[in-house]
């Protein structure tokens, strides 16, 4: 079998701040990292490889520096790494990204057909959860989203069964290969690379493909192929916890203290009294 895992390099969102003046992300000095959902997808691919036997190819679309996430994947045990890097890919929305990735997976498939594509349910920077389903739709793959467990793969009947998260519970579904999984974090805890694998990952070759290599149409990739754009970005209001009164010493004194505090605000008291009159 051949698994393809899509990994996105994202800014470390724990460090990202929004410039209050311009409402845009402050990216200067922010560290990059591999999208954690994608690393979970890779971990699952490696576990399935150990169980059923497979080759795992990792893919990332991004600037040349994105090869660091691919090297991380190689250190964990991926067999091959392909970086999709081309100036023409820049500024892509999920439509163009899923097109580019699907063309790359097609290209991989010409050498060795891809049975299973794995990706995170979403990236922590964009949070759209559209790229995985986009790839599945373009390549006509069975689509399993929000996967929390791959129960089995039947190699002969070429089908698999997974458990996926749905609102208020989970769903067990069965479907044919080739398929795409978009995974939740609870699916698997990523492994720590062994020392030899880590050392080798720094020296392993990372294949770089451009638009021409994957036969992508210039009109469909990058900013040209992206009909959506970000109109505005806003910081969410910070909700601070309100005051609390401890009722352990009795409800009455706590309520009295709470009401005293409320009515000590003159605006509140005035509004309250006004409301009474009406």
């Amino acid at each position: 079998m051949h698994f393809a895992v899509c990994i996105k390099q994202v800014p470390d969102t724990a460090e990202v701040k929004i410039d209050p003046e311009t409402n845009t992300l402050v990216r200067a000095g922010v560290e990059s990292m591999a999208n954690p959902y994608d690393i979970t997808a890779l971990e699952e691919a490696l576990r399935l490889k150990e169980k059923y036997g497979a080759k795992v190819t990792v893919l990332s679309m991004g600037p040349p520096q994105a090869d660091s996430v691919l090297r991380q994947a190689l250190s964990m045990g991926a067999d091959d790494a392909v970086l999709l890097s081309d100036r023409a890919f820049a500024g892509a929305d999920t439509l163009a990204t899923s097109y580019t990735l699907s063309k790359a997976i097609e290209t991989l498939g010409r050498v060795e057909p891809v049975d299973l594509v794995l990706c995170g349910k979403q990236a922590i920077d964009g949070d759209t959860a559209q790229t995985g389903p986009g790839i599945a739709a373009r390549l006509a793959l069975t689509q399993f989203t929000y996967v929390i467990e791959v129960q089995w793969i039947d190699l002969h009947k070429r089908r698999l069964q997974v458990r996926r998260k749905v609102e208020g519970g989970f769903e067990v579904i069965l479907g044919p290969l080739p398929a795409l999984l978009s995974v939740e974090l609870e699916l698997a805890t990523p492994r720590r690379a062994s020392l030899p694998m880590l050392i080798n990952s720094f020296r392993a070759p990372v294949t770089v493909w451009n638009a021409e290599t994957i036969g992508a149409s210039a009109a469909l990739v990058g900013i040209k192929g992206s009909p959506t754009w970000v109109k505005a970005i806003a910081s969410p209001q910070v909700h601070r916890a309100g005051p609390r009164w401890d009722a352990a010493q009795g409800v009455r004194p706590a309520v009295t203290a709470a009401l005293d505090t409320l009515f000590s605000d003159e605006d509140f008291a005035a509004g309250f009294l006004k409301g009474w009159k009406v």
Partner: protein
């Protein structure tokens, strides 16, 4: 694993990376193992590096985007009592031009990564998030590699350079260096306080990327043997204070309380006013001096930097000793590779190189300095108060005859310490730095 390196370096700080740069440049197969997520992530120091030491490793560092915060053109030494400050300031045009970057401030998170990138560009392999837990030894006890906390984590190397810093768990485990005693390390805390560049320029009287260092002594350490410092970075100042660890234990002072108190001092607070706290760091400094430097080599290994307790407490130098020791260790390793002998017979030339260099010469010269501070507590208690009171007497103008004033000034000091004690202090001070 089967793969064998020529040299394994433990720790990607100034000592380890200096050695890695030199070795990799000469085609030595070198690997650096760093426990932090990236070089500099676990590190803290006052903030000053020395250009002439860095030049020996990277000759054109200033042209290679070395993340210099400010070139130091002025050094201040302040002696603070609770309410006053006596300062000595030295500014020299030479530091602007001829001696540019003699000393400069950096942030370790940025500098260490840049420095490690220079080593990688020369061919060194850097592996982060990996803790060296033990040394690999052969039957004869020779060091033949390291054990790490990763799966299949044994790594073979012809020689190991231990540059894992003052707080080395490896030292405790392997005994290559006695575990540090509280009396031989200082605990220092540092706050990075953000201020606009123009505000720093104005407050310290500098511009165009030049800056000031201020070493601070006196009552600020609440009677403990220690110092404080204030260094200018590009858009922040580093305010730090440290004292001997055993003093902290005895006095039960909390480091953060000490730094908070320092921030309120009338000589300090105007310099940091309106600043935003950006980072809070804490680290040990190996200030035991020459007496605590361990044997610097053994069969198959060498020790450099803070791991070897190389720190000049009087001149507040450490990073340059780390870089120089890393460089000398690398030169020794090159010699050993030429002879194909990594036993202590060959590696002992590292000891000789160190003794011939300023590193051990300086530490030897100031070997009495740690005990001088230890035995003269009045430096941190009564002397700053007395000195301040004496100067106040002399500067107060109220028609009192100068003779009376001068007598009162002497009394201000003598009331706090006997003449004999004062003479003893001067004598011991002279002896400790002679």
């Amino acid at each position: 694993m089967e793969e064998k390196f020529d040299a394994a370096i433990v720790g990607a700080g100034p000592a380890g990376i200096s050695a890695a740069c030199i070795l990799a440049e000469r085609g030595v197969k070198v690997i650096v193992l760093e426990r932090g997520e990236y070089p500099g992530s676990k590190n803290m120091f006052g903030g000053v590096l020395y250009g002439r030491s860095l030049e020996r490793i990277i000759p054109d560092f200033a042209q290679k985007n070395c993340p210099i915060e400010r070139n130091i053109v002025e050094s201040r030494l302040s002696y603070l009592s609770e309410e006053s400050s006596i300062s000595l300031t030295y500014r020299d045009q030479a530091f602007f031009e001829k001696l540019q970057n003699n000393a400069f401030t950096v942030g370790r998170a940025k500098f260490d990564r840049w420095f490690a990138d220079q080593a990688r560009a020369r061919g060194a392999l850097l592996v982060c998030s990996t803790v060296v837990t033990d040394l690999l030894r052969d039957g004869a006890g020779r060091v033949v590699g390291v054990k790490t906390d990763r799966a299949d984590g044994d790594l073979r190397a012809r020689v190991v350079l231990l540059a894992d810093g003052v707080n080395s768990p490896l030292a405790a485990k392997t005994g290559f260096r006695p575990e540090v005693k509280p009396g031989n390390v200082a605990l220092a805390v540092k706050e990075l306080i953000g201020l606009p560049e123009e505000v720093i320029d104005e407050r310290f009287g500098v511009s165009a990327g030049n800056g000031v260092t201020n070493e601070i002594l006196g009552n600020v350490t609440l009677g403990m043997n220690g110092v404080a410092f204030l260094y200018t970075n590009r858009r922040s100042v580093s305010l730090g204070i440290g004292a001997n660890l055993s003093d902290f234990a005895r006095e039960r002072v909390r480091p953060y309380e000490m730094i908070e108190r320092l921030k309120l001092h009338p000589a300090i607070s105007p310099l940091i006013k309106g600043g935003k706290p950006l980072e809070y760091l804490a680290h040990w400094l190996p200030e035991g001096g020459f007496a605590t430097v361990p044997r610097l080599f053994g069969d198959g290994f060498l020790i450099a930097g803070d791991s070897a307790m190389l720190f000049n407490a009087l001149h507040r130098e450490g990073s340059n000793l780390a870089m120089a020791s890393g460089r000398l260790a690398a030169e020794t390793i090159l010699e050993a590779m030429g002879k194909n002998d990594f036993s202590s017979r060959t590696l002992q030339s590292y000891g000789q190189r160190m003794e011939e260099s300023f590193v051990l010469k300086d530490l030897k010269k100031y070997r009495r300095f740690p005990s001088f501070l230890e035995t003269h507590r009045e430096l941190f208690t009564n002397l700053p108060r007395g000195a301040s009171a004496a100067i106040r007497e002399i500067l107060t103008v109220d028609e009192t005859p100068k003779k009376t004033r001068r007598r009162a000034a002497f009394e201000a000091i003598r009331g706090r310490m006997t003449s004999l004690r004062l003479l003893r202090l001067i004598w011991d001070a002279w002896r400790s730095v002679r």
